[in-house]
Symmetry: C2
Subunit: 377 residues, 2 copies
């Protein structure tokens, strides 16, 4: 046997992370009850005790999303994995798809759908705007897509995509409606079944106040039918919902080992949603966002997104002329331990992104941020 | 706005999981220090404090694997995601690959490689056996594979695949050597660089005693070169190491939000490996396995795998004639809170699988299991 090389055997200290207030686009701070749940002792991934927990997580996800979909599960990866699962399971090579691109995550959907061999038709808009029904309708009429992919809550811009009438349009054209709810689930009104959404995904680290590591995904009956009728296997083993679904469904067939402790955390996060109630939670997010927007206005700062489609969970603030956006963020972190992010892509250097998500959507955080921002500017 | 449907708003109790001793094939019980680390307060995924943690995790993974590979990262999914990342990043459509199939995870590699369009050549052996160098050599000579995939530690059988000479063979044929170390990392001698391994992956929930949720992956220089020279994009966005590597590398480009708290846990788990030292840790696993094997022998129970290639981390015990394997496992759990698993595939109903992994590889666990098993049988 060779002798052991100790070059990389570094000596480290006990973990001691700084007390950040995470007011960027996510992760937001997890609720303390969620953090405690994470460290609960483990059981096996086929233990009856864990199967019961899985059932509770699924049921509470259905509540949060307002859906009855049997296939509602946390994918064993982050929100991006759930996004890829949504694409991989609904798109087949050669399928026509229409993707609304008005921010970073629309671009990512294009990248993913292209990798899965879709014939991608982009519907473009400036970052921070939303698509009108007529624009969507025209694109669907023209390209006859198998799937229409829209970002309900664009984390890169803070814009909300209205969905009125879109489901009827999709059904008329035998097209699935797939939406990104990463920054809306648990913070912004969502009625998946009422709205006729066929596929939705999310992350845990935004308005659910759970650390990143799981990606909620739900497939409605039309999506499940489409999956069953595929001509080819899903070209992604880990995210193949025809296999994953057998573990989360009645069969309980082993696929991969579920992230036990992350599921403990998500269960607690979803319990908090159920305890508070969706109406109260949405109202709280709206109230604190309003407080932020008013305060920014008083400081002479403008929001990038039109108020009619502005997300309460994520606000993009225009950087005033002559101000170094990155320097302000650095200063907020150095002096106040507050994380506030900059813009991505088209909005790089032009906006700051402020998240008031889940546990972090509280009046004291708004007051502190406004005060710190005034000091720094 | 529609009114909220409260059908799925179930009321649940505080999490209270039973005190299981997880002596199956994984997850094993996490070390208490790891569980505590999980609930540390969060920082952002681009926070300098988190970047430092990432660096420590990478460095300690290199130690555990005995490699200098710069591209050594925890994939943001379970071990199965790391397995798929290993395949997706090294295999291109039409590539010839040889896969050793002597257990469940060899079969899974075949499924994955097929989905990525490889021309798969199976090398088959009964479950519980290992391949001889001559068999491997003949297959490589005949099929001229671009990648040779072997399972170093078969979690379904408890067999270890010897690798002497295999790396030289692969280099001669411009073939990458890819191995599964899910049940060996942190418990069984591994010298990736010394052995000339190009790609390896693992899970966190076995001998590292961290909950499931991350999948360590390492790519050597030849694998990185292969990735850079691909004719096509990796057909999996989430696991594309040319993107993921830019977040874990110097660029720090955002790809997806890393599972912050799971990385806290893995860091602590790897610290425990470094504190104990690999030699002592491997010796401990060997010593406790020996104790188990001797005890089983005294009870008249036979191990399924030949001692020369038997893994200390996972033992398959032959179920005696006339004994109902599942009933014994159920009884162990009901009476003693001990999880012990049954066989998979070819070995279903024929063996029990006992893991003595990481924190769980302790003499008291062996004594308890032997005593409980004697009671139940």
């Amino acid at each position: 046997m060779p002798s052991v090389n100790n070059t990389h055997r570094i000596s480290t200290t006990d973990l001691d992370t700084p007390p950040r207030l995470l007011l960027g686009p996510g992760p937001s701070n997890a609720h303390p009850r969620v953090l405690r749940a994470l460290s609960n002792r483990q059981v096996g991934h086929l233990d009856p005790a864990f199967l019961a927990i899985m059932g509770e997580v699924q049921e509470l996800l259905r509540y949060a999303w307002q859906t009855d979909n049997p296939v509602t599960v946390p994918v064993s990866g982050t929100g991006s994995a759930a996004m890829e699962a949504a694409v991989a399971n609904t798109v087949e090579r050669g399928d026509s798809v229409v993707i609304g691109v008005n921010g970073y995550f629309g671009e990512r959907l294009v990248d993913m759908a292209t990798r899965y061999g879709a014939e991608v038709h982009r519907l473009d808009r400036a970052w921070g705007e939303a698509f009108s029904f007529d624009e969507i309708s025209e694109a669907v009429e023209r390209h006859k897509p198998r799937v229409l992919l829209l970002v309900h809550a664009e984390t890169s811009t803070g814009a909300r995509q209205p969905l009125e009438g879109v489901s009827e349009l999709c059904r008329e054209h035998d097209c699935l409606l797939l939406i990104d709810t990463v920054t809306s689930l648990g913070g912004v009104p969502l009625f998946l079944d009422e709205w006729g959404v066929d596929v939705a995904y999310s992350g845990t680290q935004k308005c659910l106040s759970c650390p990143p590591g799981l990606g909620p995904l739900t497939l409605g009956p039309r999506a499940v039918e489409r999956l069953a009728a595929r001509k080819t296997k899903v070209p992604n083993w880990y995210l193949d919902m025809s296999l994953v679904g057998q573990y989360w469904g009645k069969e309980r067939t082993y696929h991969h080992t579920a992230p036990i402790n992350m599921n403990y955390g998500l269960r607690e996060a979803l319990r908090l949603v159920a305890e508070e109630g969706l109406e109260a939670r949405w109202e709280r997010h709206a109230r604190n966002a309003r407080l932020l927007w008013d305060g920014l206005g008083e400081m002479g700062l403008a929001c990038h997104v039109d108020e009619a489609i502005r997300l309460p969970s994520l606000t993009t603030i225009r950087v005033p002329d002559g101000v170094d956006a990155a320097a302000v963020s650095r200063e907020l972190m150095a002096r106040y331990n507050i994380e506030m992010a900059g813009g991505l892509g088209e909005l790089k250097g032009k906006v700051w992104r402020v998240g008031l998500m889940g546990f972090n959507s509280r009046e004291e955080n708004v007051r502190l941020l406004l005060s710190a921002l005034a000091e720094v500017l």
